[in-house]
Symmetry: none
Subunit: 226 residues, 2 copies
DNA sequence: AAATAGGTTAAGAAAAGGTTAAGCGGTGCC
DNA sequence: GGCACCGCTTAACCTTTTCTTAACCTATTT
């Protein structure tokens, strides 16, 4: 059963879609503007987001951008009244997984949701394992804890975010600039130095297993080796 | 997301193709003549090149030849208004991976690009490790490391860049001037001497396998032999 | 033999990174 | 409200790394 975030400002259309999709075994959370959507997104986990492009205040593209900042791989389907090419381009550039022009054909929407889910499913399976083995340590991303024997070390959100990325790139390079863009939204002198500080923390946490190394590749990034 | 170099002198056709392909999750860089194409090619990495045969100054075949000099395995698709047999033969002799006669059917083009990509990269799209075998050594470009047995030698970014080019031209000559243009952006006395220094470093790193030789070809460049 | 190209080593400047601690804005608690 | 605490950012002070340049050779070409 998929959990879907539907962002639609037209109350009646939103309600119709919600009902129809729920008849087809989707669980829908309806938000009527961008802020409500982001609140909901932060509160729980969704499999797909369906965004109306024309929203009051923040438009659908802006909401999509913020969602992608929070979860790069979140599948997004745009709905729009206009079939302008520029809209399509903008949508796909933001990483839209699909794009539908109103009026919405409900059956087609379901087909597209399922297509998107099929596409992302294999990736999601891997990403959903939030437990990582790092040498003798076990790292639980969700609870932000590093376990060695019966010693538990709680780490901060940013430390965990970086360590997760390092784990997902184990043995390969974790590009510094990309990481900064992803976790900080920008890549300047200060964010760079900030990242250095976190790497220093992680090295200290992981210091009890000499087989583990967070290696710097000058000018490129870091590699987790173990 | 594939990165494609599209070389087409007809501005409007180029733009139409670019837009269409970008709608289909390709990232297109458009060049309107051979020189612009080679500049772009040196600046960044592409997955496929699509070349119009009829170009002002340098024709598509000449551009393809130079691209193959820089990266022998670069997939190339030719576009041509003529369906002359001689052109087709010439194209395929230059290592064309496909050949399309104008007017271009966009859907067909996409299908062909995907076919070429499947052919070139059978699996492992995401983590295409750039691993090279050099005699007894293994060279990992991404992490900038030379492995011999359990000995790991970390090398610098420039050293790795040069060694990668040498590997890609193994047994053939790596033109000095082109390399300088590519890695330094210019080719003067100092950059030349700088390159000499890096070659000297590489020879030292690779010194433990006497079968490997970085041979100088006076006034031309270097050849990696092993 | 002169001129040019290349080989190697070392010195020096600039940039990047490592680490520690202070600053600073939130949050929660009394 | 004030206070302590926490996490993140800045600052400060080093060390390391990288690349260029210089210097002093040798090799190759003409």
């Amino acid at each position: 059963m998929y959990h879907i975030l539907l962002v639609e400002d037209d109350i009646s259309l939103g309600y119709v879609l919600k009902e129809y999709l729920e008849l087809h075994h989707f669980h829908i959370e309806l938000a009527k503007d961008g802020d409500a959507a982001l609140l909901a997104f932060n509160r729980s986990h969704f499999d797909v987001c369906i965004l109306d492009v024309m929203l009051p205040k923040k438009d659908g593209f802006a909401v999509a951008y913020e969602i992608k900042q929070l979860n790069e791989s979140m599948p997004i389907i745009f709905l729009t009244a206009r079939s302008l090419k520029i809209d399509k381009l903008k949508g796909f550039n933001l990483g839209a997984d699909d794009y539908m022009v109103k009026p919405v054909d409900e059956e087609e929407l379901i087909a597209r949701i399922q297509a998107v889910m099929r596409r992302v499913a294999p990736v999601d399976k891997e990403r959903d394992a939030h437990l990582f083995m790092i040498g003798k340590y076990v790292f639980d991303f969700d609870t932000q804890v590093l376990i060695l024997g019966d010693n538990k070390q709680f780490i901060t959100t940013k430390e965990a975010a970086i360590l997760k990325l390092l784990c997902e790139h184990k043995g390969r390079i974790l590009d510094r600039k990309q990481t900064l863009k992803r976790l900080w939204g920008e890549s300047d002198y200060f964010t760079r130095r900030s990242m250095d500080v976190f790497i220093s923390h992680l090295r200290k946490y992981l210091g009890d297993d000499p087989a583990i190394e967070i290696k710097n590749v000058h000018g490129k990034g870091y590699v987790l080796q173990c």
